[in-house]
C-alpha cells in the first residue's frame, strides 16, 4: 500500500480489457504509461498541459486527459484506448464514418477525437451540430477544419438512433 511517500508506485489496472500489474515512477502520467510502459502508442501526447485533447482516453467510462492524470491515482481503474476500442469493435461505425467523410488528414488528433466522440454517441439523445461542436471543443485538429469531424459524428449518431429505434 501507499501509506507513506513513495517514488515508485505499484499499480493494478485493466487496460483494454486485460488486467495488468506494473510499477511506475510516482510522476508517471497516464499517457506515458500507455505509450512508454505498455507500447500503446495510439494515444498521442501533444501540448501536455490539457489544452489540445490528443491524449484523451477513457477511464472508468469517462474521458480524461492522459497528460493531466498521474498513473498513481489510477489504482484499480479500467482504461480504454483507441487500440482496445478498435479491437472490440465498440466504435467501428464511428471509425467507418471518419474514413468515409475524410475526417482526418495527418491523424494526430484522431485517437483523442474518437475517445471524446465515443462518450457522445453512447448517450441517448442526438445533439444538434452545435451540441456536437460544444462537446468536441476540447479536441483540437490542425488539419481538417472540423466540419468533416462533426459530419462523421453526426452520421454515427443518426445511424445509432435509427438502428435501435425502440
Amino acid at each position: 500500500m501507499t501509506d507513506t511517500f513513495r517514488n515508485r508506485i505499484d499499480l493494478e489496472m485493466t487496460v483494454n480489457g486485460e488486467p495488468i500489474e506494473l510499477t511506475v515512477p510516482a510522476a508517471r502520467h497516464l499517457i506515458d504509461l500507455l505509450r512508454t510502459d505498455l507500447g500503446l502508442t495510439g494515444s498521442h501526447a501533444g501540448c501536455e498541459h490539457g489544452v489540445c485533447g490528443a491524449c484523451t482516453v477513457i477511464v472508468d467510462g469517462e474521458t480524461v486527459r492522459g497528460c493531466l492524470t498521474l498513473a498513481a491515482q489510477l489504482q484499480g481503474a479500467e482504461i480504454w484506448t483507441v487500440e482496445g476500442l478498435t479491437e472490440s469493435g465498440a466504435i467501428a461505425d464511428l471509425q467507418k464514418a471518419f474514413v468515409e467523410r475524410n475526417a482526418l488528414q495527418c491523424g494526430f488528433c484522431t485517437p483523442g477525437m474518437l475517445a471524446s466522440a465515443k462518450v457522445l454517441i453512447e448517450r441517448d439523445a442526438v445533439p444538434s451540430r452545435e451540441g456536437i461542436r460544444e462537446h468536441m471543443s476540447g479536441n483540437y485538429c490542425r488539419c481538417t477544419g472540423y466540419e468533416a469531424i462533426v459530419d462523421a459524428i453526426e452520421t454515427t449518431l443518426r445511424g445509432r438512433a435509427g438502428g435501435d429505434a425502440r
Partner: protein, 276 residues
Amino acid sequence: MKASIGGYARARSIEHALSLFAEADGAGRYLAGGQSLVAALNLGASAGDMLVDISGIEALRGVRIEGDRLVIGALTRHSEIERNDLVARHVPLLAKAAPLIAHDAIRNRGTIGGSLSHADPAAEYPACAVALDAIFNLEGPNGRRDVAASEFFKGLFETDRAEDEILTAVSVPVAQAGERHAILELTRRSGDYALAGLAIVVRGDRHRIGAFGLGDRPLLCEGAMAALDRGDVDAAATAIADDVDPMSDIQASADYRRHLAGVVLRRLAAELGVAR
C-alpha cells in the same frame, strides 16, 4: 516537459493527510483532481513536491442539505456539480457555472475544492462563491475553521488557506422561493478561461454580483449591485467599470475587459428582466 515530483502518498483520511503533509517537511502539496496541479508541474512551475493525494478521502465527498444550507464536499467533481439534483434545485448558479469550465475530460476529474483552492481569478466557482455568500470549511493541524468567501480570496492565486490546511467543503445558503441565479462569460473559444464574466444572485429585490477575469481575484461588484437594486441598468453598467480592476495580458487589454464587464452586465440584466 515532464513533471518532477519528490514523492507520492495516498491519504486514507483527513487526519492521515495532515500527518503526511507534516512529514513532507515544507515540500508537501495536496493533490485532488490534478487538473491545475499536474498542468503546473508539467510546465515546470514547481519541482520536488511531495504529493499528498486526498482524492480517496471519503469525508471530502458528497453533497448534502444541512438546515438551510447545501454542503458540497471538496472532492465533488465539476461533472458531478453539472448533474447533481440537489445542486440544480438549491444552488442553480453552480449547476449553470460547471458546464462553462474547460471541457468534458477536465470536468470529469477537476474538483470544486481544487478550483477554489487554486483561486484562478478567471475561474467561475470563486466568483459564484462570492456572489452566493458561501462559507468555506477548512481543517488543519490546529483544528477546523470557517472562512467567508469574501474573506477567502486574497490576490492572484492567493487565499486565506494556510499551506497545510485542507478545504473540506463549501457551504452555500439554499435558494429561497423566487430567488434567481445567472452566469455569463465571454471567451475566445468554448471552454477557455473567461476574458470577463459575471455571476448574479437575485434574492428578493437584492442583487449580488461576483466578477471573474476582471481583477486579481473574484470581486463583489457593490456599485453595480446597488444600481440593480434600484432597477437602474444604465447606472449599473457605468458603476461596474469602477467595481472591477482588470489586468492586461496577451488575451485582452484591461480596457477591453472593463468594456466587456458592462456588456455582460447588460445581457444578464436583460435575461433576468431587471427594469429599464
